[in-house]
Amino acid sequence: MAYEPLLLRNIHREDSRSIDVYLAHGGYQGLRRALKETTPEAMVEEVKNSGLRGRGGAGFSTGMKWSFLPKGLEKPRYLCVNADESEPGTFKDRLLIEKDPHLVLEGTILSAWAIQSRTAFFYIRGEFYAGERIFRRAIEEARAHGFLGTNILGSGFDLEVIPYRGAGAYICGEETALLESLEGKRGLPRIKPPFPAIVGLYGCPTIINNVETLANVTLIAERGAAWYASIGRPKNTGPKLFCLSGHVKRPGVFEAPLGTPLLTLLNEHAGGMLHRDRPLKACVPGGSSMKVLPAERCDVLMDFDSLAAAGTMLGSAGGMVMDSSTCMVAALLNLAEFYEHESCGQCTPCREGTGWFTKILRRLEGGQGRAEDPDLLLDVARKVEGNTICPFGEAIAWPVQSYVTEFRSEFDAHVARKGCPLAVAARS
């Protein structure tokens, strides 16, 4: 592979998290140049022109998102870094935070400057103890070097970055739930509109960006939009971190251009299937909320538009690989239990629907399934999808729809044979 890592260029260096190592390899040069040679408006344009799309899940244009901020500066503006990485199968932001926090922090400073925010929050999931300690230290180092604080590098720009720990709630990765949590409340998503760019944290204009998105902003500031846009595929530009876990030989985070084939990531980067005698059965390409692809449809390119065309989504690029030993009813039950536990309870379709899914799947797996159960699952999913305040409804409706539709015979067999034909029931 001729590809030179960009996002992961530093992680293998000794003491990669220290600012000295980061500076020794060109760190904070992008920030220096941007503050000296360009303007915040030009930075927004540069990010727009790079084609960068958000790496948190939705894949929306980052520069476009920034430009939704109101023009005046009557109210303070806030940048919130979404480091609440909680989508099952996803562990890429954790790697960046723990191994190269300054790449993320430089992107945070650049982005805050671009949108003229003087206070940025780094909302990190509570379970990332090490990441939080490491990022706190990175903030102190950056301040000591004049990259944070007042009058950064003589530019007149002031910025404080405040770390904030979540406390165990998947829903807080949803951007408006994150804001509620940051305000010291239960993480219940807000009704949109108004969008956070207009009414966000403390009622002020707010931009929420994912960790990996901000790391990409650093790259764009270093080498420019045209260079960045030459990586990947049209409308799907730049490098990407792909996670692969489950039944692969080498689970991990792999960097490659957007548009890299899923099978290349699986067979080359992740070393292929875990067991020689158990072929690929299915793969969730984008984290547990995205639709599952059966093996015969896994010959896809891993980018936003290619996966949308294949009927699923890139999401958070948390690839979960399942081999022939996997019972798809058990796999879906596992996810239904996750979503039932994590539903914030605010909207009836989600709160009740996740309970229905769990109940029906438990009886299917336990041998008490009814002939109408697979259709009942689809019916409930239809009533959840599109009927909730936040995308959590889709996050469970999509897996239910795709597992049942793609593996229908397996669900029916659970009814006919009064239990799991694979008898791998690795559950308790």
Binding site: S86, P88, G89, I162, Y164, A167, G168, G184, H247, G252
Partner: protein, 163 residues
């Protein structure tokens, strides 16, 4: 509640919470970090502590109970000295997370969700820890462990017994 003697936390934690009140653009944001300070000191968050912190922040005790009960990392009862949290979600399940849990249950003589009578171990099944590359994984207090199997669980318990 207003008597200084009735404060359910140490004076050091009390001062640290006071410092948090002006740390954020709005005082309300101090709640989660304040709850962490209390839990770091006491291991859990009692109703008295919730009422105390409600008074500090300027919200009702019921509001604080609502927040504490929403987040899984806040404990409303004491947990064991070693809190073992095993990941339950798909990538870990595919790699044997449920077997790891069963082995821990049999070794510790408790079921998931319980604490050993001597208060040394608590065992919890938790949702995705964001460490699927080390599946099946777990967290022991603030440390990540994984990938686990029966032998590694046995070795881990040996180490923890000495702590």
């Amino acid at each position: 509640m207003s008597l200084a003697a009735a404060i359910p936390v140490s004076s050091g934690t009390d001062r640290a919470i006071d410092a948090l009140l002006t740390r954020f653009p709005r005082q309300g944001s101090a709640l989660l970090p304040a709850l962490y300070l209390i839990q770091d000191e006491q291991g859990w968050i009692s109703e008295d502590s919730m009422a105390y912190v409600a008074g500090k922040i300027g919200v009702s005790p019921a509001f604080v109970v609502g927040v504490v009960s929403f987040y899984t990392m806040f404990h409303r009862r004491p947990v064991g000295r070693h809190h073992i949290q095993v990941c339950r979600t798909l990538s870990c399940m595919l790699r044997g997370g449920h077997e790891v849990m069963r082995h821990l249950e049999s070794r510790l003589g408790i079921r998931k969700g319980e604490t050993t009578p001597d208060g040394r171990f608590s065992l919890t099944f938790v949702e995705c820890l964001g460490a699927c590359d080390t599946a099946p994984c777990a967290q022991v207090n603030d440390e990540d462990v994984g990938p686990l199997d029966r032998e590694k669980v046995d070795a881990l318990l040996e180490i923890l017994k000495g702590r």
